[in-house]
């Protein structure tokens, strides 16, 4: 039988040096396809059938992760177009709104961020009602709550960056709530803002937190979270 062009490519030495498994026509090759691939090897080669039921997980954790990836990609692209200074930030936003691509980029980033706050919260609700935090998964619940707090912090620090009235007064209201802390209130606010009022120092602090510090820790906790899901017996379902 004559070989087709796709067959020839997938049999070639170059292709086989990158993707070692050929056409996955046996169960063994299907397993190898998963654990020989850098991106897929976080998944088990085989899954419990009920792990695939939509009503077991509502895909909330997966959607949260997807939104985080979308936010990372759009966020990095936005960093090329944004200057964290009170003289330029708002006008960079305005310039962005003039371009179709720029507008879509910012819209995607904003709506994904709101979506992620919601999906992470509802993921926690789902895990609570299915009582999935029971041993041996206790610690993964704790990591998950950490991720919820980090998601809120990420969203909150990003809120200031457009430097419009919404951003300025949103952060002013939020940081005023911090001053209600007994004894330490005004110190905490000063530590957050780097000054007595929301200004250039606060914008720079929030920018660095939003683009570097918080994403780093979120990524770290996500890695631990997914690793623990595997170690603690796979997604969804009693042990």
């Amino acid at each position: 039988m004559k070989k087709g062009i796709l067959q020839r490519i997938s049999d070639s030495a170059v292709w086989r040096s990158i993707f070692r498994t050929g056409i996955p026509d046996t169960d063994l090759k299907r397993s190898m396809l998963i654990f020989n691939n850098f991106f897929l090897h976080i998944f088990p080669a085989k899954m419990k059938r009920h792990g695939l039921c939509f009503s077991f997980t509502f895909c909330l954790g997966g959607i949260s992760c997807l939104l985080f990836i979308i936010l990372t990609v759009t966020g990095i692209l936005l960093m090329f177009l944004y200057t964290p200074s009170i003289e330029r930030a708002y006008f960079d936003m305005q310039a962005l709104a003039l371009l179709f691509n720029g507008k879509i980029l910012r819209n995607l980033h904003r709506w994904s961020a709101h979506g992620m706050v919601a999906t992470v919260f509802f993921h926690m609700v789902r895990v609570f009602y299915t009582r999935s935090y029971r041993p041996p998964r206790e610690f993964n619940w704790v990591v998950g709550i950490g991720l919820l707090v980090l998601t809120l912090a990420l969203s909150y620090t990003g809120y200031l960056l457009p430097w419009d009235q919404l951003a300025y007064w949103g952060i002013t209201v939020g940081t005023t709530i911090m001053t209600y802390t007994p004894f330490l209130g005004s110190y905490i606010r000063f530590f957050m803002l780097g000054a007595d009022e929301v200004g250039h120092e606060a914008l720079l602090r929030f920018y660095v937190l939003h683009c570097v510090v918080l994403p780093f820790f979120t990524g770290l906790l996500m890695a631990i979270h997914f690793w623990r899901v595997r170690k603690d017996g796979g997604i969804s379902g009693p042990l």
Binding site: V173, Y180, P182
Partner: protein
């Protein structure tokens, strides 16, 4: 008979064990009951791809239809009325409105809720001691965790209600308004 069928497996006289049986199966697991598993590829990978594309597509549609808000340039001299926190904190703002001691809803309650969430898996477990079973009855409500369910559901519903009221139903001077007017 057996050796004629599988001449590859010749029994070594020094071995104390031998090949007993050939079993058809799709899993290398032994000494465990058969689990109801499926291959991740293609079953899961297809679902993952569909879900990823669907969510991305929906987000694209939303981003085409609705623009992210951009108001006037930030101006410390012009205070908007009402000044609102981001929507996920308007619940706290709404609670602060009810009291003249803002430290309670603003600081103490959120910290308590986060700590309580962290502790849930460690208090909802089989009690080992008498004190443990006493605490379990108060904070969890036994094996069917009635108390915990009521507390958590109250937290969820409360958070949703106060957030929605704070975000949508509050206008000038934090007075009650209808969002469609």
């Amino acid at each position: 008979m057996e050796e004629k069928k599988h001449p590859v497996f010749v029994k070594d006289p020094n071995k104390t064990y031998g090949l007993m049986e050939m079993v058809d199966g799709t899993s290398p697991m032994t000494e465990k009951r058969v689990e109801d598993t499926v291959e991740t590829f293609p079953h899961y990978i297809i679902l993952l791809t569909i879900c990823t594309l669907a969510v991305t597509f929906i987000l694209m549609i939303i981003s085409l239809l609705f623009d992210a808000p951009l108001e006037e340039l930030a101006n410390p001299l012009v205070t908007p009325n009402p000044g609102k926190a981001p929507w996920y904190f308007t619940g706290i703002q709404e609670l602060i409105h009810y009291t003249d001691k803002p430290v309670i809803p603003g600081i103490i309650i959120p910290i308590c809720i986060v700590l309580w969430l962290f502790l849930i898996p460690y208090i909802d477990k089989k009690p080992g001691t008498k004190i443990g079973s006493f605490l379990n009855r108060i904070f969890i409500g036994g094996e069917n965790r009635k108390v915990l369910l009521i507390l958590f559901t109250a937290f969820i519903i409360g958070a949703l209600i106060f957030t929605v009221i704070g975000a949508l139903f509050r206008g000038e001077n934090w007075n009650f308004v209808l969002p469609w007017k």
